[in-house]
Amino acid sequence: MDRRSLHRLERAALAYFSRSGSVVLLAGVLATTAAAQASHTDRGYSATFATSGQSMWGPGSAPLSDFNRTLRLVDLSWAVGDTTGDIRGFDTYLFGTVSFGGEIGAYSTGDFGLFTTFANVGTGSVAVNYPVNVTVGIPDPNTFRDGQTITIPTKVQLLGGAAIATTPPQGSINVRGSAALTAGAYTKVCIFGCLEFPLFPSINLGATNVQLVDLGYNADGSAYAELFGSPRVTLPHTISFIESQLTNMSGVIGVPSVHPVSAVQPDLRSLVAAGKDTFVNVSLDMDGFVTGKIPLGFETPDFHGAHLKYETVDISTVVKMHQDQNFTFDPTVWVTLSFPRAIEYAVADTNGAPVDAGNAASITFRAGNIFSLVYPAGLRDPMTITPSFFIRNTFSSDVTNRFREDIVLTVGQFDLSIPSVEIFPEFTVDVCWGITHDADPLGIIPDESCPVTSPSVRTPTIDISVGPLIHQSLVGAGQEMRMFPFAADDCTPGSLGCGHWELQGFNHVAGAEIVLDPENPIIDVATAVASGLASRTGPAGTLTQTLTVSNRGDVPLSAAQIADALARAVPTGGAFHVRSINSVVLTENNAFNGVSDLGTLTRADVLAVGGSGVVTVGIDVTPGNVFSSLLDADGTTPIGTNVRASAAARFAVFAFDIKPTLNAGSNGVLPVVFLSTPGMDAAGIDPASLRLEGVAPLRWSLEPRGTLNDLTLKFDRQSVVAGLQQRLAAGPVAVASMPRPDSPSPAQFASALMGGDALTASQVKAADRNGNGTLDIGDLRALVRNASASVAPADISLALSGPGSGGGGLALGPSAPSASVILVITGTMRDGTPLMGENAITIKGMGQ
């Protein structure tokens, strides 16, 4: 099936499901686009369906019940007679008139018949071998989504080796004959006188139901024949000379043994098997039935030309018996798909016409049709289908016995021949000579001769022939005996029609499981906002927002984006401004500002399955506001499903004040105060959560100021100094420290760029950060920029004076006499919102 047809079928399936109200549209996080065509991978299932030992006459072992049929093969009758002769009178003058000649008269009536009876026919045996390859188009994993209608096309191919094999049925065949004959003949022979006498005594005989041939099977299954009641001979049998003399038969006798030859029909699906067996081919002298009982023929030897010959009846028959067997096997391969749960389905034929539809956990349909199902909405886990295959069929049987006879019938052939007989020989009289010579001894009269000759007298030659009274030649006379199906009552109840039924005994074939695996796209986004200074990821007056997007589904997500809408709660309060955006794994949008351009990414990234990326946003803030971030992350699956996730964060920045100096060497407490501003009441702060340079407050109190409250706290000075020392010593944190898995280091990339060791293909792909398809100095810059810390060491502390400034890791060195340092306090509001406050302080006596 081509793709266009498949689309047409899918539309038909969708139309059906829509009409039935079964289409479930996904809502919520999964926004569906137009249903994409799931690609398929064909999987072949080889299945050989076979059966054996089936009856030729009906389902299972159905017998050919009460089959006993007789057919008249030959039926000849006649009644003829005739007289003919030639008797002539002859005047002898001396003896008067005498008769010479002959006459023959003859008559014959007769009736000859030949019958055959088939009885006790067994079931025979039918076996079918039908190997096929069923191709099932299995939707490829992750090429469809839950709730989508997917198709599973199927097709069937018949493999070599398909055949119908049969074993001939056993039965008995009986051939009998009948004969009735009356005949008489006389002859009259006249030689001077006539003599009439019969040629043979009148015949009036009848012989009925004469057993000619009896064919059957011995107990051991071998076939036998009895010829004229003689001992059994094993079949097939060629009649010997002696048997021929005894039976007037010759030829070959056997029982039907048809071995049909199978062939595949032009539809490349159904089978036929056809065969023919000539099991009797004999010549039969039928008048031999009465041989020995009557003189059927006589012929005298030639005696001085006299000859008598007659033939009363002569019937020669050649009988041939055939059996034709024709079988057809019209199968249909079926597929059963068993699902772990009921599903909505539809089945269409190859033309797209609906065949079946419903809701079931086990669906059976014809192989070759197209199965469609709605993958259950909300089910994004794979579903395992168990396929199995079986066969249905229509089998037909057609068995016919055919007979052909060639008959030559001759009745009453008589021939009589009587030669001519000389009665008076020829003589000559010479009267002149007698007078002139014999009577004139003296020779007085001159001799004169005048001879007169009288011819001889002979009887006439008599040739009389009578007949043949009948001479008939019938060539090619034929009859049929339809064994099966013969009549309506041969149709087994429940079968598919006369001579048609379903062949039983075929096996079912189980196939390997099919896994339908829809896409399961999951995008996840999380964010955290921290004080840049406290987290050592940014300078004072900044927040560092970390956006983490991850692909927790089973398909890659392209065009990934994290929209980050930044806002502030108090319109007149502190402001914010995006100062930096950075990502190692992802392609950050340098134009992002959180207000008019919310996209933190360029949508150039593809989140691999299991992959994640971090975007770090540096935000300049001024105190006196609660800043909020609303994230909306999305990505698109290979089949176009857009999946989204959201997250939110808030961060409060309070005005914060520290008393002017902090003597590094002094003890005591350090007082600080959170100052309320319009919309930002310090009473909302959870004092116990606060930490100044990591140090918890010793005590605190709320001090009303107008309608607002200031929160004052006391910290242990030495602890704060120690905490500050620790923070400064730790140095900055590279905010984008998560390397891209395949991304080379800048040094590695630079070496490759300048002719050193080449990068791997995956490294090249990962390193082409500007996406121009080549590795260049721009890519190196992007790598360097993303791999390096985005916070300069100097950002950690403002106005740090004295030796050591500008170094790598910063510390308040022993030689530093004093420093102006910004302290940072962090904690949470009572509603859980994180907060910070910053204020500069001069630390004295650092080197003491």
Binding site: S751, M754, I777
Partner: protein, 140 residues
Amino acid sequence: MNRSRRWTAMFAALLLPVVASCGDSGSPFRAPVPGTLVVSLEVDGTPAGAALVVVHGKQIGVPAAYSDAGAIFARPMDADGGRWQVAVVGTEVSGKLFSFDVPDVNRPEAYSAELIQVADRADNLLPDMAGYRVSIQPKR
């Protein structure tokens, strides 16, 4: 011609060919001064974000970043230090890029620099490097 003038003429005849044969390799009477040469990027318009440069000469020392110009990556192209490839990456790349030591700083003309690639500050490779030139001067 007296004796002293003859000796003067003979000395001049012997010395002049020697002086003439040393014309393009410096004065044979001035000793080489080891020092440092600086490669600069001259920009007509917007500063670059990165540049890839090849320097040619003899006995070129390992290139070093010049102040805070940015990170550099260098790779020798032959065994005797006759050619180096140097990549400079920074926030803004212009002016003095990197330096390298040479045996005689008084002969900067024996060294040359070639600009191979330039990227802008959005990491894009510039197809046209017009407006960007590299030069070499002794470090002062």
